[in-house]
């Protein structure tokens, strides 16, 4: 089955792209999709443990099962309420 993956903000910068498709085995979960993204773009590991996930534009846990044609989005921490040490400088 094939899913579309969307990567936002710094996640998209780290991967070097913001949208791509992945082929996965049936029964795959969002965590497996994330693993495929990490394998393709090792730099996104910088945000491991700090991403939230959405499936078809609804928040979903990483344990949620994905289906053919799903749009799976990974979201870095949002900007609101950021403290002094939450800037990622270049």
């Amino acid at each position: 089955m094939r899913v579309t993956v969307q990567l936002f903000a710094r996640l998209g910068d780290l991967a070097g792209r913001r949208e791509e498709t992945y082929d996965l085995a049936p029964g795959a979960r969002a965590a497996d999709v994330w693993q495929a993204v990490v394998t393709a773009h090792p730099d996104v590991r910088a945000l491991a443990g700090a991403v939230s996930c959405a499936i078809n534009a609804d928040f979903a846990p990483l344990t949620a099962e994905v289906h053919d044609d799903d749009e799976v989005a990974f979201l870095p921490p949002v900007s609101g309420g950021a403290g002094q040490d939450d800037r990622h400088q270049r």
């Binding site: 700090a50 939230s52 959405a54 928040f59 870095p76 949002v78």
Partner: protein, 169 residues
């Protein structure tokens, strides 16, 4: 630009400059026929600041996951209505490149009385900051930075109660 034929949704992610008056007019109209009617509209306007952490800001870029952001706004509006009955909440958030002094977000809350309107307005901007899938990229004279705070989790009750405490302080 907002245009006459454009139906202004109360909850939206927009690329064009924001209009406080347009959002306020929509909320006043929505609230007029409900309960006691509309007696108060409180607004919050977020503006691009010239400095961030002592650095001179050249411009910002806001990125949003718009379809999810609008759903999150709706969830926040529902939360506000559970706290303050008959309150109508609007959120317009801008995306794209914004210069210093431009408006990045407008929140408006309309209610029969000022207490509910003011509290719901403060609550809504706090919640938007906590959980809306919107990211700010700061560009300086000598570099740039993504601003990252908390992992967005609408189900996190501690965050919701913190926003409520803020509104009711």
């Amino acid at each position: 630009m907002y245009t006459d034929r454009m139906i202004v949704e109360p909850l939206a992610v927009l690329r064009q400059p924001l209009s406080v008056e347009t959002l306020v007019a929509r909320l006043e109209a929505d609230t007029r026929g409900a309960g006691e009617g509309c007696g108060a509209v409180a607004t919050f306007i977020g503006i691009v600041r010239a400095t961030s952490q002592g650095r001179q800001v050249r411009h910002l870029e806001y990125e949003a996951f718009a379809p999810l952001a609008v759903k999150v706004f709706q969830g926040i509006a529902d939360e506000a209505r559970r706290e303050w009955h008959d309150v109508h909440v609007g959120v317009h958030h801008r995306v794209g490149r914004l210069m210093v002094g431009e408006t990045s977000v407008v929140v408006a809350a309309a209610a029969a009385h000022r207490d509910a309107a003011c509290r719901a307005c403060r609550y809504t901007i706090e919640r938007v900051k906590q959980i809306a899938p919107i990211w700010k990229h700061e560009y300086f004279e000598d570099g740039d930075a993504w601003v990252e705070g908390a992992v967005a989790d609408p189900a996190d009750d501690r965050a919701r109660l913190a926003a409520r405490a803020c509104a009711c302080a």
